[in-house]
């Protein structure tokens, strides 16, 4: 593409310079996750010290490289040496790192996580060999945490917009064929083949068509899309342009939740960069002209559903609309519309750059390519990963995630957020792909994996997710609105020890009605956490109902605490932490708990250093 030729050449020079070992450089991971862990303060400290000491090193910001458990992450590169990745860096650590590593040339081994090089460096393992990275294959996340996301040149230098160039050398139909050949399926959750979907929108005849990027990531525990938007916004813009070219759309909306301010900021910048470069709002020689607008969502989960999302863009109440008509025929403003998720579009730009074959070579038979997952919950290495589809659940949880921390026993993993289901220890050999997950009653969904250990009560977990969908149901259709309410009421009853065995049948009947009768995906999938926990953890339900006992000791309504008089030293710690004043005793005296005042919050249990609080 002519307009990019000069820019790309310059960008490549700049990138070479940036990555060369001639200069010293400090790179701080400052995506939302890094910032929450204190990355900005760390960055300021580096800037201050580098300036104060007159060191010739640039301090730059990058996004999330995925090792969220180790945030804030900082890469420090001394001229002539490979870059060392430090983890859990606090402002206090900065002076030491600067002094020892940047000035003294000796990496701080105790803080070093990996070295960004092909070979180990001074005893530090390579990033590729890092246990969290070894099994990963980064296609969508190729740039995240590697480039400066606000630097257009970085994206260009790493092959950016080559996918678009390649697309322009083909007819739109050929692009669609390429997409079909790649085997890419919608990464938002439904897993519908992207090429086929584009084909439908292409076939719709209309002067105006829309393409929408769904960035309304709302599953609790999911943050893949945010990381991509924060770390590599141009990959999504390029994907949108390719999709627009393929289906014949000239306008695009990125529907992004307003809880993602940094992602919005990065997107805005990236769009203005693309406009400035002449990629957007300008007619190409082939007649293609494209415009992208950002639409901020206001925090309704149901807007992740495509027809609700379109209603929201149109400025009316977000409620799903019946299909047909399908968006490909009559979508946004009643025009043919194609909706793809962030990750799908980021994959598109990569596929069109490298060709369908290399993407299709990854993954399993019917689930090609890679998928990003966010690991959260009771897992040692929480973070963002990308693996070929078909990777086994056990590999993800134990090898990449490092299993449950503190030696606790793994109990279950909730996949696919509130629409998904839970998997158990028996599923460690299950290939994580669309077919494998479906066979176990769960879904990949958008890619959230929340790990539960022996302390998690599965009834309470189901209650949590149903409580989420209950309050996020738009209320339009009966099965979802009333079904989620009743599921939640019954689960609450069971957690409080007031359940009856008939309730289990009730749960199933309600769940099946919701699956069959609900209008949109939210209601159809909302009972999944209930159904899978009932399938795999029925004994826990029964213990709550018949024995009025929570096996995980998590349901406060079923736990009582008392003081072990033999072990109590009268230290008064429990008395002080008790929020309801239920504990009395005084210094050096054996304490006691007033069961009428006790709300079973467990604060005493957690704070006692002498194991003198007994839990039943």
């Amino acid at each position: 593409m002519d307009i990019l030729r000069e820019k790309r050449a310059e960008a490549e020079r700049e990138w070479k310079d940036f990555t060369s070992d001639k200069k010293s450089r400090v790179m701080v991971g400052a995506a939302t996750c890094g910032r929450a862990a204190g990355a900005l303060a760390v960055m300021d400290e580096f800037k201050r010290l580098v300036k104060e000491k007159g060191i010739d090193a640039e301090v730059v910001e990058t996004a999330c490289i995925g090792l969220c458990y180790a945030e804030p992450l900082v890469e420090v590169k001394r001229a002539g040496e490979p870059s060392v990745l430090y983890s859990k860096v606090s402002p206090k650590d900065v002076a030491g790192i600067v002094e020892k590593h940047l000035v003294g040339g000796e990496p701080c081994i105790e803080k070093a996580e990996a070295v960004m090089s092909d070979k180990p460096f001074k005893g530090i393992q390579t990033f590729a060999e890092h246990p969290m990275m070894r099994l990963q294959k980064r296609v969508v996340l190729r740039n995240c945490g590697v480039i400066d996301p606000s630097n257009f040149g970085h994206y260009l230098a790493r092959g950016g917009y080559k996918g678009l160039e390649n697309s322009f050398s083909k007819t739109p139909e050929e692009v669609i064929e390429e997409m079909k050949a790649s085997g890419l399926r919608g990464r938002g959750g439904a897993g519908f083949p992207t090429g086929v979907k584009w084909g439908f929108a292409r076939a719709s005849k209309s002067a105006d068509k829309y393409i929408i990027c769904n960035a309304d990531e709302g599953d609790p525990g999911a943050f893949m899309d945010r990381s991509v938007l924060e770390g590599d916004p141009h990959s999504v813009i390029e994907g949108l342009m390719i999709a627009g070219y393929a289906i014949g759309a000239n306008k695009a909306y990125i529907y992004v939740r307003s809880e993602y301010p940094l992602a919005i900021e990065r997107l805005k910048l990236a769009i203005s960069q693309a406009e400035e470069a002449g990629l957007l709002k300008r007619k190409f020689e082939n007649g293609f002209e494209f415009e992208i607008k950002i639409k901020k969502g206001s925090g309704a989960f149901v807007c992740g559903e495509e027809t609700s999302l379109m209603a929201s863009i149109e400025g009316v109440r977000a409620m799903p609309r019946p299909k047909p008509p399908f968006p490909a025929n009559s979508g946004l403003f009643k025009k043919p519309t194609n909706i793809n998720n962030v990750e799908t579009l980021a994959a598109v730009s990569s596929i069109m750059r490298d060709g369908a074959a290399s993407y299709a070579a990854l993954g399993s038979e019917k689930s090609r390519g890679t998928k990003t997952f966010s690991l959260a919950g009771k897992i040692s290495r929480t973070g963002l990963i990308e693996v070929p589809l078909g990777t086994k659940l056990g590999q993800i949880i134990n090898e990449i995630g490092g299993g449950c921390p503190e030696g606790k026993k793994f109990k279950a993993a909730q996949t696919g957020g509130p629409s998904g289901g839970c998997l158990t220890g028996e599923h460690m050999d299950l290939p994580v792909d669309y077919e494998g997950m479906a066979s176990a009653g769960s879904i990949i969904g958008s890619g959230g994996i929340v790990v539960m250990n022996e302390d998690s009560c599965m009834v309470e977990v189901a209650k949590y997710f149903v409580g989420f969908t209950e309050s996020e149901s738009c209320g339009k259709c009966v099965p979802c609105r009333m079904g989620t309410q009743h599921l939640h009421l019954i689960l609450e009853k069971i957690c409080n020890g007031e359940g009856e065995m008939e309730d289990l049948e009730r749960l199933t009947k309600i769940a099946m009605t919701m699956k069959q009768s609900s209008l949109c995906g939210l209601g159809q999938t909302a009972p999944n956490p209930v159904l899978t926990t009932l399938k795999y953890f029925k004994d826990e339900y029964i213990a709550h109902i018949k024995e009025k006992r929570c096996p995980a000791m998590a349901c406060s309504g079923l736990i009582t605490y008392e003081v072990d008089a033999k072990k109590c030293t009268g230290c008064t710690v429990c008395e002080r932490v008790c929020p309801t004043g239920a504990i009395s005793g005084g210094p050096k005296k054996v304490h006691s708990i007033d069961s009428d005042k006790c709300i079973s919050c467990g604060a005493c249990y957690q704070s006692c250093k002498f194991n003198a609080i007994l839990r039943h």
Partner: protein, 815 residues
Amino acid sequence: METFTLNIDGVVVEATQGMTVLQAAKKAGLFIPSLCAHDELDPYGACRLCVVEIDGVRGTPTSCTTPAAPGMVVRTNTEQRQLQRRRTIELMMSGHPSPCLVCDSRQDCAIEKAQPTRATSATRCGACSNRPGCELRGAVLGNYERDIGLPMIYDPAKVERNDPFIDKDHNLCVLCGRCFRVCEKIHDKPAIAIANRGKKAKISSEFEKAWSAEECLFCGACVEECPTGCLTDRWGKWFGLPDKVVESVCALCPKHCKISLKIKDGFVIGAKSVSLKKSDSLCALGKFAYAQLINARSRLTRAYVRRGKEQIPASKQELIERLAEIFKSADSKALIIVSNGAYFEARAAARALAESFKADMVEPGLDAGEESLPPEVLGKLSRGEYKAALVFGNYISGENASKIDRLVIADFLKTDAQKYAEVIIPTAILAESAGTLSGENGEEKLCSSIISASGDRRGLSETLSELCQILGLDTSKYRPASEKLDAAFRSPAADKSAIPARFMGHYLADYAPDLAQLGLPFSPNELGNAGDKDAGSYEIIENKTLVPNFHELKVRAPEVAKFAKPGQFAILMANSRSERSPFTIIDWNADEGWVKFIIEEVGRSSAEIASLSKGDKLWVVSGPLGTPVNLELFAEGSKVLLAGGCYGIGAIYPIARALKERGVKVTAAIEASSAYMLYYRDELSKYADNLIIRTRDGSLGKKGGNLDTVAEIASEYDALIAVGCVFMMKQVASKTPLGEGKVQLCALNPIMVDGTGMCGACRVSVAGETKFACVDGPFFDLCKVDFVELGKRRTAYKLLEIEAMPRHIGGKCHR
């Protein structure tokens, strides 16, 4: 249009392009249950009742949203779809107070109580104004059973009465969306939509503001299209379904819209637009005020002429003769005022009279008052220069009226000026009389008489035409020309602020008080008493809502407390104009000087009392009245069964306490429609050895009512006392007697006035003898009461009671 065929349940059905499967089925006469679907609205797909199976289509699509296609094979009623539908219905009904629909006594009850109880909150079908017209009921009956066993979810906070004209009970709402969809269809930008999510989702204006503060024009289409009792016409909702709906013309403003009037028993009980087209949309006057105005309680019914000092009822003949005589005697000093909004025929006659007798003729606008009369006319009026005047409507004040020698007033409402009139002509208005008006585009519009005018009411055109005939005047040349609407005219149907304040000189808000909430003016002495509180002397210490419609009222009444005994009652009045109604004394404390009552809201008087709050005062607490329950009948150690329902749950409480103190073994059996209507369980448990609960829907305790409890266990008891509604007591009576020599009583609470045996309103037949419930009762032999007669007597004042139904605005009752 392209037609094709498809197969629905084995029937080959013809359809045209663009039809949905549901429409195709409907056209072929095949029934698929549906609720949110509406012929004139776009497919919505929310109720999920119309699910079907279609060959080659995944899952169970809704037939209301699926386009029919050639060759489609559809199955609507397989066993699986029936089950799916039943469960969806159960889910839907679990959020709609519907215990009546699964009650075993539903049919008997509907016969016994042909009219729903006029409760404030519709806690069940039997207390819902929309029972006769409920589409939900029609759609689910026969398909509704509690197969999953879901509890009913009911939230008392969801009853809203803060807007003019429209009562909103969101408990009844199933979010079918018809209301806001029809609003959008008519007004493009809807005034209402669904607010909030999930269980908090409800029909609302933006930010849950009052509709009157928003774009809502009160066209009432939402109320008309609501299939449940969620949105109702506050004034007209208790009248039931109309006998017929007749198209007419609204004469309340110069636009003269087409209007459909709902007629029942010869009365206009409501109005609606003739179609859902924007051009046919009504304003608040047409939709809501029309019926209130034509049924106003201060309508004139009798014609009067003065003889000496007296205004004496007069025949038509006398009236006409007197009119002729008055005009002849006027000596060119006469005034005629007939509004330009009156029928052409009346105006023509008035003009003919004016010309013939050289009278001053004024034709004020409909919306005008005295102040808009021409200054020279006002001057003459104030100087008393008119010898005679004919005034149609409320256009002159009492003061000016008093200065006219011979005044003729034609009007449909009573006014102050009428006491100075020599002749009062009660007129038929609106749909009561026929005549001609201008159409919007200058065409003539003929309005026909739809209901007959009662009393001496006649259209003014008729009276004046007859007068002219006698006087030999030809009115035809005076007929006004039909006129186009003025270009500056603003339609009240499109602009709330254009709603006229007056009709024939009368403030509309005096007769449709909700208009005041839209900012319309009213006469100082009319609405001034809205929600007022007469200063009684019985202070309310506490008003606790136990369950919807049921209040525990604690009142300071030391004299009553000093003498109260179990089983007695007191007569209460909320204010000086209230009806006197009896209420059982539930509890009392002579030392502290208070008594407690259970107030069940079943109509005007109880709703008035229930709307009072702590610190307010009751006008009357007169009691204790009635004969206390004879405790001597119940021996120590004997077993007594107390059966209570509705207010009776509270009424058996003092009896249980007294019996317990005597050492009697007490079992309290209580029933309610559903778990959310049960109260006093803890209170009764204090004195009852046993508490047996039954709910009509089976949501708590065994399914059924006290009749089942009595049938099951009463034989083990030595005595039985039943207190509750007539239907419950009658049902219990059908399961007795317990056996020879056993005591079985009921407590009756019929209509009373004085409560001391003087008025006889509370007559009941017991074993063929007439008794007065107030002094002989309230306790009678359960098996000997004529419940059929009692039930009939209770409905004797049905129509008056409906007309008296209070308007709740801002939680308070007002007229």
